[in-house]
Amino acid sequence: MSGQGDSAGFTGHMLDLDEDDDLEVFTKNTSLADGSSLPNSPGSMVNQYRLEDEDEGLQAVHTKDFFITVSNPESHVTAVETFITYKVVTRTTRSDFDSSEYEVSRRYQDFLWLRSRLEENHPTLIIHPLPEKFVMKGMVERFNESFIETRRKALHRFLNKISEHPVLSHSEHLKVFLTAEELAPHKKQGPGFLSRMGETMRSVANSVRGLKTRPGEFTVMQEYVEDFSNKMISVDKVTQRIIKEQKEYLDELKQYGPTYTQWAESEDELADSLRGVANCVEQCSQETEEQISHLSEVLLPTLHDYVLCAETLKTVMRRRDKIQADFETKNEALLSRKDDQEALQEEVNALADRIELADNALRGDWKRWHSGMRSDLRSAFLTTAEKNMKYYEKCSAVWESFLLTQRAETCQQKDGDDGS
């Protein structure tokens, strides 16, 4: 657990982005500063990952060339269904975009389509998760206002993560998603690479079979992913629990203040002091409400994203394993059978290339992802700590000003008394 990385240097590179509520503070790699769109050829992608290998992954700063917002949820009712659309506004300086500003209307399904296309094209890249389809717990309706708002923010984060990714941000699918008036025509494409791979749940689970020697680095990664997933789930749960307890505390606080006000009504000398306390409790209640808001709207969503990220990571690891398993199976066939050697040899070579590609992609993206995670979570906890400090500072000020009024009154009294 030795501290790598220069923390002082790191903080110096944090960017404050002008996006609204979400914490989008993290660094990017310089490898694609030219902004040109790269073709999806394996060769060039390998080169690109080599560049990333050389990077520390933390020090570089990338100027943003995409500014995307997701806003304005609107409800649409048709004969068959009801759904929500979101306004997606893109401002970009990218030369491969015809215009510098786009505005389109997209629904959740469209985001799902984009993500699955990205997954197909880049099976071992770590793609930021989308918010869940349904929320099972708590019986939140699909069209409940707070659910929609939470989803909108998550979709916003998703697009921003994609647009800042050195590889994914150059995807044709992303371009289409952001610019096409109608998405439907673009959706009619052949079954994706992944489906050709026959990626069903079962097959993914069984990919461990036939896997002879997984490189040590990926075993380490796998173990980390398992542990990380558990920890994220725990942190998420603890945070939810804290929010719950805070809400219950707030409820009681709201009933507590009025007991002082009611008492003040049957007092004369004491009434001011009692009302003063009631007022303090009331103000502290408001501060508590704000504190709860921060937890619910800033900390919890970030943590939740990383719970989902952990699942993405597990899927990515499985895919990588499957690619290797496919190669090993074919390789065995090559080594055992006598016929069709040439054809098999070609297949095996292609599969070997595929492994190298997949492994490099994962390695490079892993560093990027990990540093992004570190940055996001650090930022989320930092702002929470700051928010809590502010909370206590404001509450303390409230009580202090109450004390001032009391001390002033006491002085007045002392002047009037004979000092008994």
């Binding site: 657990m1 542990d227 942190v235 008492w263 049957s266 570190r374 004390l403």
Partner: protein
Amino acid sequence: MAEDGKEDSLATDDDSEQTAADDSLNTTMVEDGSTLLCRMEICVAEAEKRSGKNAMGMQETFSVYLVETRLTDSGPDGRNPAPDCLWRRYSEFELLRSYLMVTYPFVVAPPLPEKRAEFVWHKLSADNMDPDFVERRRVGLENFLLRVASHPVLSNNKILYHFLTEEHGWREAVYDTGFQAKADSRIRALSATFRVRNPDKGFVEMKHYSDELQSHTSQLLRARARVADRLYGVYKVHGNYGRVFSEWSAIEKEMGDGLQSAGHHMDAYAASIDDILEEEEHYADQIKEYLSYAEALRTVCRKHELTQFELEVASQDLISKKQQREELATGIVRTFSLKGMTNKLFGQEAPVQREARLKVLEELITEGEDTVKEKTAECEEHVEGAWLEMQRFKEQKDKDLREALINYALMQISMCKKGIQVWSNAKECFLKM
């Protein structure tokens, strides 16, 4: 004060030594405005556990409290006297208070700390043996003694002095005063409340106020306990962050140190609530004092209702007897009476019998007039004493509660400052993540 003379006669002293002490006390007591506390330092210094057999022969554990006193006047040799001390149980304090309430029914009796823990929030031990509870009780008992010893009327009481200075034989001395016989029966008091016709307006208002005070303080205490319970939950849950961060730090390289130390601060945060809430209990105790004072105030008002009622009854009785005399003397029946009716129906009685009856009536009327005088005096004395006392109570209440509210604010500020510290430390750790 006039009352002292009356009370002294009630106490019986077997011990001649005691009598001598009392005499000397009498001569020093009558200065105006001087109370026991002016001449003596009093404190309840410690508490201890004892075991013994109770009244039913069963083994029990109880707490005893060390009452320390020291005369502040230096003795004849010019040196300050050594402190004296003795052990008292809670039940003895209770007995003292009951005695004082019966003996001085116009005084608003200072409160004792609660017998059992009330308005408990879930973590607070309701066990009377809990050290925190015992400690708070010690403070409450000391406050009780200080208040009694600084009261212009109560502080001069001999039984009180005995309580403070002589461990043995005190219970017997109290019972010997016969105060229990003087205690008003609940039924009489209650009946008076309902049937009194002209209670003093001021007392009616005071009684109403005492109801309000009781209601408001108990609502406040209940709500505060619930808030404390919830706040406890909030702090303790943060302890889970401590555990999870620690586990998480084990799998991280660069983030590990920051996470680990942040986790420690979360543990500290979770642990800090115990002391914070224990301190708040002292504030709750101050409010509870006035919950008890409300009851004592109501008792004084009830006593007025009782004396007023008894006066009314005696007056009414006198009036009706006088009327009877008039009827007998003049033969004119003004009011309906069974005797009158039977006389009409069956003829009047013989003159000799009438004379006898008149004579009895005259005696009864004389007695009745004495009773009325007595009751009037009792009533007026009570009103006069109680009225002064209630003003004094009001001033003390405003002062005490104001102070309690200020203390509460100070506690809140202290809690906030601790919170700022913890989260500032956590922030430093998060920066290292």
